[in-house]
């Protein structure tokens, strides 16, 4: 048998073709996963029923955070800077000294933790004006989320020696039971300002 050359297809350029395809897909597709602040909206109110359900929340359990049309923040009736907001909210959620003006604590049986005093009826009511800017609103949402994250992290570190995100699912559920996230985004109101 001698050497018999078969004239094969010249495949040297198929690498280039494949590269072109690859580049095309890299350009047109987006790999970045969307990030955001997840929230849950309340159930829609039936149209015939116009009663305000927030009436039956006790006053001490309610923290009203209001963002005005000039992006100023009122927290519990006081003008608050965005930097102080987190600590105020943390104090409200945690109620460390059992203050009579802060949310009442009820005893709840939480797995891993046993019987714990939890401010489970607290509600943070976030209100905004129609003229509030979106960035200011997100800032406030972010601070509220941060207050919860820090509280949960603290207790996770104390109990399990790990940050909240590193806990397994059951442990996370237990911690969430101690600090349930209760942010109510109230019905829109027009407090003033244009639009």
């Amino acid at each position: 048998m001698g050497k018999r050359k078969t004239p094969g297809v010249n495949a040297s350029s198929s690498a280039d073709i494949a590269f072109m395809l690859l580049l095309f897909f890299l350009m047109t597709s987006s790999m970045d996963t969307d990030q955001g602040l997840p929230r849950r909206l309340p159930q829609p109110v039936p149209k015939d029923q116009k009663t305000d359900t927030e009436v039956d929340i006790k006053k001490r359990n309610l923290l009203v955070v209001l963002v005005s049309s000039t992006n100023q923040i009122m927290c519990g009736g006081e003008l608050t800077d965005i930097k102080q907001l987190k600590d105020k909210v943390k104090e409200f959620i945690d109620n460390p000294y059992n203050d009579a003006h802060l949310p009442e604590k009820t005893e709840v049986d939480v797995p891993y933790f046993g019987k714990t005093m939890v401010t489970k009826n607290h509600v943070i009511s976030l209100q905004n004006d129609r003229g509030t800017s979106y960035q200011a609103y997100i800032d406030v949402q972010n601070e509220l989320a941060r207050a919860y994250t820090e509280l949960r992290d603290d207790i996770s570190k104390k109990k399990f020696g790990k940050a909240f995100v590193d806990l397994d699912e059951d442990q996370q559920k237990a911690v969430q039971q101690i600090y349930p996230q209760k942010i109510s985004e109230a019905e829109p109101k027009n407090y003033g300002g244009e639009n």
């Binding site: 929230r39 909206l41 003229g131 800017s133």
Partner: protein, 144 residues
């Protein structure tokens, strides 16, 4: 010196190509609104892309402002839409999902950071009416 055998290079590249095609999704919409995400720190990733519906809010692109004005507008898919159309749009998106996935549907609100809350509030009300209760305010990571 023996030459490096490159005959398997195309295969390698194709394998890589398929990998990219699997993990990414095609950019579906062309943006018609100017959109700069607000910044935040407490972000969570949206998990399943197929369960996420996007609503864009912002001022129309400069070249479209003559036609649509410079007020903030809502964009659903490729078109500008009114607030009243959101409910239908959500219902449509919902019905195109698998039934077991429908409760996990998430609506990501991608709004420009200079948007006024009025329009966002209207969208939120519309979403409530449409029973799309899981939402996410899209934002980018703030570097402190």
């Amino acid at each position: 010196m023996p030459e490096l055998n490159t005959s398997s290079l195309p295969d390698l590249v194709f394998a890589f190509l398929f990998f990219i095609m699997m993990v990414t999704s095609m950019r579906e919409v062309t943006l018609k609104v100017q959109f700069r995400a607000p910044q935040a720190t407490e972000l969570q990733k949206l998990e399943k892309k197929s369960l996420v519906t996007f609503i864009y809010v912002g001022k129309p692109m400069p070249e479209l402002q003559k036609q649509f004005g410079s007020e903030s507008r809502v964009q659903l898919n490729d078109q500008f839409a009114e607030i009243s159309e959101i409910q239908n749009y959500i219902a449509q998106e919902k019905s195109s999902m698998k039934e077991e996935d429908q409760p996990f549907m998430t609506v990501s609100i991608k709004a420009d950071k200079d948007t006024k809350m009025g329009i966002i509030t209207d969208i939120k009300q519309a979403l409530r009416e449409a029973y799309a209760l899981k939402i996410s305010y899209s934002a980018t990571k703030r570097i402190d």
